[in-house]
């Protein structure tokens, strides 16, 4: 709560907003920057920060919701396993994410056993209480993957395995930066992921794309100060990595956690829902951990699922474009009409990290001044 005083000071926020305006005036043209984290969007929406941003500054949410970018066939794998009689343990956000024809919630409603857990460790505890096979449907970025790696290294019970839908953020930033027509001139990187990877992980990216990256925390002042720093780098045409979250993030990151992460996982190419095939964007278990890899342990009969018709509204969902930062929920004809958290059409309305869910939660209008 003491953070309230330092990082939620409206007077400081106003002076940072004035600084943003001054920098935009000096730059003298519209600028788009991207953050890649649902928690950043949460804070921006919760505190109404968009109404403080200069009109010519577009702060876009990119693919920062791990649940949202879980691809349809990955959800399908979980659904099929559950329908085959395996207990599937997963995080609450994942439950309603639509697969090709069904979500895990649908599978549950038709009789499958789905357990909601809050950490990989809880799934291990669950496995210890039963003889049934328990599969952890593991979603999340590298931050969460570390926790999955830890339980695997700790030697889980023999009836426990992992279906990894873990994603790795740095490669997708390359994809977004290279997208044709991308207007993104700078990135605000997520502070909590960087506590693991370290801020230096972005150096090669900055080198290659000549685009600045600022690591920022999640309080209003963190975000505003991060944007000031980012615009300063854009104005000076000095693409660099700046760590604006030094109270948690170091250049090299959490080395023991990284060691565990890469001991268990390796990167592999895979699709991110609605965005693209991302080379090295997925985290799969290394071969030596085949015994806990659900994909190796079970025959997952995906085609059996595809006899059913996909939901009709799904065709109108623009989640992919929203996660790529090309469009926003305002552009979607389903947003806050057919698509609401109780009956979501797309993944972005399901997860608390999804842009649509966040905008819905905070009134559906992110910038009151722009739409008055």
């Amino acid at each position: 709560m003491t953070n309230d005083l330092q990082f939620r000071d409206p007077a400081l926020a106003r002076s940072l907003a004035a600084e943003l305006k001054r920098l935009m005036n000096e730059i003298g043209r519209p600028v788009a920057v991207m953050h890649v984290c649902g928690s950043h969007e949460q804070a921006i929406a919760r505190f109404g920060l968009r109404s403080l941003f200069p009109k010519s500054l577009d702060v876009i949410m990119g693919p920062g919701c791990p649940v949202c970018v879980t691809d349809l066939p990955e959800v399908d794998e979980g659904v099929v396993l559950a329908r085959q009689g395996v207990r599937v343990a997963t995080f609450g956000d994942m439950l309603r994410v639509p697969g090709t024809v069904q979500s895990l919630a649908d599978a549950q409603a038709s009789g499958a056993t789905i357990d909601i857990v809050y950490s990989p460790q809880q799934a291990v505890e669950l496995a210890k209480t039963t003889d049934e096979e328990v599969v952890l449907f593991a979603s999340g970025f590298e931050t969460t993957a570390v926790a999955t790696a830890a339980v695997i290294l700790a030697g889980p019970p023999p009836n426990f395995s992992v279906l990894s839908a873990h994603k790795y953020i740095p490669p997708v930033m390359e994809i977004v930066a290279e997208m044709p027509g991308s207007r993104v001139e700078g990135f605000l990187a997520a502070g909590h992921a960087a506590t693991i990877t370290g801020s230096a992980v972005f150096e090669p990216f900055v080198e290659r794309h000549r685009v600045p990256v600022v690591v920022a925390g999640f309080e209003p002042i963190d975000i505003l100060a991060g944007l000031v720093e980012l615009l300063d780098l854009i104005r000076n045409r000095t693409p660099r990595v700046i760590n604006m979250f030094p109270r948690c993030v170091t250049a090299e990151g959490n080395l023991p956690a990284q060691k565990q992460l890469w001991r268990v996982f390796q990167t592999t190419g895979g699709r991110w829902r609605g965005i693209a095939h991302v080379p090295n964007g997925n985290l799969r278990l290394r071969d030596e951990f085949a015994h806990v890899d659900a994909r190796k342990r079970f025959t997952i009969d995906l085609p059996s699922l595809w006899d059913y018709a996909p939901p009709a509204l799904a065709g109108q969902c623009i989640c992919g474009e929203i996660m790529s930062g090309i469009r926003n929920p305002r552009d979607c004809r389903l947003f806050n009409r057919e698509c609401v958290p109780e009956t979501p059409v797309g993944a972005c309305m399901v997860s608390n990290e999804g842009t649509c869910k966040i905008w819905h939660l905070y009134g559906g209008v992110p910038d009151l001044e722009a739409t008055a």
Partner: protein, 346 residues
């Protein structure tokens, strides 16, 4: 298959009792539409206010009814008995009837319900009646079979007289919004107890009869109050949306002025629940003409139940029917809750 995700249209869902938009839609479609066609002089069902008012001579008889179900039935700060008296006394007070003529009490019990619990509930009811100076004058008792009902349901009905009926639709641009104290205490205390979150400690329900607090304002400043509502289910957000829509004004809320205890703020952030969406059982939202707002505030603060009262908003002519939240950083719309908020962990 995906239709399984949605509630079938032919079945009642929990959110239709959550105090938000879904509940209002159900009531409007099912009860208000046809009952409102029956001849009636006064403030009736179509007003969808806290109660109804019938003209008797030069006074108004206010009548209200409320059924109480809560899990757990005993929670920090109260129980279903205290709640059932306070809820009805407060609904009368919100219409201006601070002097309670009489209450009725109807109890439906599940077979096997512990006598000891029932006696404890009865003791809290009588204590709340004494606080509110409100007599229970008639009642009814039924017992249903095991599992035909969850423990106990209590219905109370109340009547009171007032010379001036206060409505929830009387706001005009410029009016100030006062909340009579710290918000979200009841809902979070019950939620923490219900889900055994181990967070109880500082979270205590605010359930209390407000009639003497409200009387001090109505008697102290006749004509100063433009509208009133108690932010129960759906919280301050739902109540203000309703007042704004019915009055045809917008409301700008100053988030930093809203009284919230550190415990409520911390638990709200932890659970991902906005205190503005959480139920209160001992707080009122009072719309007051601007020139009397400070005086009314002082009067409220002089009362034990109003010590942390605050002016939290102003009515405007922009965005009619909406509630705008000024966070101190920027302004955004406040969402109207659809149903009851659920904790991120449970």
């Amino acid at each position: 298959m995906t239709l399984l995700m949605q509630a079938p249209a032919g079945r009642i869902t929990l959110k239709q009792g959550g105090g938000g938009r879904a509940m209002r839609a159900l009531i409007e479609r099912l009860f208000v539409r046809d009952f409102a066609t029956l001849p009636f002089e006064g403030v009736g069902i179509a007003a969808m206010d806290d109660g109804a008012a019938v003209r008797i001579g030069d006074e108004w008889l206010v009548i209200t009814t409320d059924s109480h179900v809560i899990h757990p039935i005993f929670f920090p700060g109260g129980d279903i008995g205290r709640l059932s008296i306070c809820g009805t006394v407060n609904d009368l007070a919100m219409m201006g009837a601070t002097n309670v003529l009489a209450l009725t009490c109807s109890v439906i019990l599940e077979e096997g319900f512990a006598m000891e619990s029932l006696e404890a509930i009865q003791r809290s009811m009588i204590a709340a009646c004494r606080e509110a100076n409100a007599p229970v004058v008639t009642g009814d008792t039924k017992v249903m079979g095991r599992r035909e009902l969850d423990g106990v349901v209590i219905n109370t009905c109340g009547i009171g007289l007032t010379r001036t009926v206060v409505r929830d639709n009387g706001l005009s641009a410029g009016d100030r919004i006062i909340v009579t104290g710290n918000i979200a205490e009841h809902g979070l205390a019950v939620m923490a107890a219900r889900h055994s979150l181990g967070l109880e400690g500082d979270l205590v329900s605010d359930v209390a009869p407000m009639n003497s607090l409200i009387a001090s304002v109505l008697d102290g400043f006749p004509g100063a109050v433009a509208a009133m509502k108690d932010p129960t289910r759906g919280g301050v957000s739902s109540a203000l949306h309703e007042m704004a829509a019915k009055s045809g004004v917008g409301i700008v809320l100053d988030e930093r002025a809203i009284p919230v205890t550190p415990a409520v703020r911390a638990v709200g952030e932890l659970l991902g629940i906005d205190p503005l969406h959480v139920a209160n059982e001992g707080k009122a939202l009072i719309g007051v003409h601007a020139d009397r707002a400070d005086a009314v505030l002082q009067l409220l603060r002089a009362h034990p139940l109003g010590r942390s009262a605050a002016i939290i908003g102003t009515c405007t002519t922009e965005r009619l029917g909406s509630v705008i939240l000024d966070t101190g950083f920027g302004r955004r719309l406040l969402a109207e809750p659809e149903g009851e908020p659920l904790p991120r962990i449970c």
